[in-house]
């Protein structure tokens, strides 16, 4: 406390009073490393927030892409069905991560110099760039598959519903290939029932992954009855790893011996 005498005179020797006080209290300047550590911790928080945002972006892209497989083949007659395909959990996490990134950057030494809109744009841009790169490397698929198999709580939180792939009226079905023919194969659906699948189009089959027995696939097409037997005419077939695998890795029937590889 500054003494009354000083307050009354209001002028000299504040410096002396301050220096005396510093000595009395035994104060000394905090070491430089204290400020370095603080700065690095804050930047570390920025890094973690960006990483979480990027992973959320990867999973949003991955799940969005796998859902698009359905969306492209299903008419917009069932909006609720389409609504369930949106990866809300990851979108929410992405928003939280972006908010936290902005907050953490603001806490850095010079973070105040950037306006909030620039920081949000930067955080979104970085998350998309890193997230898209990670998606290209298959990180999103790996994480999603891991969470689906290892974390029972994850499934109810996401749009993973095997029932979605049991909707032949909507033109989608999934299961395991049991017998592979030349232009047909037998599919054991997720509920155990076997159906015959006829490949009528090789749409989206850009990669030469071949169908084989025991392979899990998801199929888009139309269901018909031919000769009293249910036949599913497929327009697109893809490997089905839990959620379904990336779009660009299609599956195709082995070409007949006389058919040249395109």
């Amino acid at each position: 406390m500054i003494e009354k005498q000083y307050k009354d005179t209001e002028t000299p020797h504040l410096s002396k009073k301050i220096l005396d006080l510093i000595e009395q209290k035994g104060l000394s300047p905090k070491p430089k490393w204290h400020f370095f550590v603080r700065e690095w911790v804050v930047w570390g928080m920025v890094g973690v927030a960006l990483l979480v945002g990027s992973l959320a972006t990867t999973l949003t892209i991955y799940i969005g892409n796998t859902s698009r497989f359905m969306e492209r083949h299903i008419f917009f007659s069932d909006l609720l069905f389409l609504f369930r395909l949106v990866p809300f959990l990851w979108l929410l996490l992405l928003c939280i991560a972006i908010f936290y990134t902005v907050y953490a950057v603001r806490e850095t030494r010079r973070g105040y110099k950037w306006s909030s809109s620039w920081l949000v744009a930067g955080a979104v841009g970085a998350s998309i760039f890193i997230g898209a790169s990670a998606h290209a490397l298959g990180v999103g698929e790996a994480i999603d598959r891991y969470l689906l198999t290892e974390m029972p709580l994850y499934r109810p939180l996401t749009n993973f519903h095997p029932k979605m792939w049991m909707n032949m009226e909507q033109g989608v079905v999934a299961g395991t290939v049991t017998v592979v023919g030349e232009e047909t194969f037998v599919l054991q659906k997720l509920d155990g029932e076997e159906i015959k699948v006829m490949v009528i189009s090789e749409m989206d089959m850009r990669s030469p992954d071949e169908l084989h027995e025991g392979m899990r696939v998801r199929i888009v097409g139309t269901s018909t009855i031919e000769g009293g037997e249910t036949v599913f005419k497929s327009t697109a077939v893809e490997p089905f790893h839990g959620r379904g695998g990336p779009l660009f890795r299609g599956a195709r029937l082995p070409p007949p011996p006389d058919m040249k590889e395109r």
């Binding site: 406390m1 504040l14 410096s15 220096l19 006080l21 905090k30 400020f35 110099k113 950037w114 306006s115």
Partner: protein
Amino acid sequence: MIRVSTSREAFGCIVDRYEEKLLRYLRRIMPGLGEDAYDVLQEVFIKTYVNVKGFDTTLSFSSWIYRIAHNEAVNWLRKKKVRPLTTELGEDDFQTFAESLEVSHGTHEQALTKDAVMRTLSQMPEKYYTVLVLHFLEGKSYEEISDILTTPSGTVATLIHRAKKQFSTIHEKHHD
């Protein structure tokens, strides 16, 4: 500055150099502070001494110590749960404000008194009042205000523009 200020004696020079400026600034942004101003000022210098090695050398030392003073003032107001309701202006400050804020002298020439300016300033939000004080009375540039208030300089420009506009509006309203 950092190297010098870590010795206690040299720090005394810093206190001597900024004592008057900071005391004046604290009284401007916290009118009615009275003798508490010295306690706040003392805390400002103690914090400056303790944190001196964290000073960002890309800033001017003046901006940095003003930032500490500003934060200390805000903390004091928060602790006491008060807001500066009365604005005290010296004759010089009044003249500076009257000229800088471009209040119309035409019809309200009689009304443009020190009391009127003080009353108008008292009704302005704290953030507007603070930028006006820093810019017009303390003579700080947008960049310096940005460093003191840790706000982007674009935001400072917007705040000053809005503060001037609001000053005119409140002032005009008083005389309608």
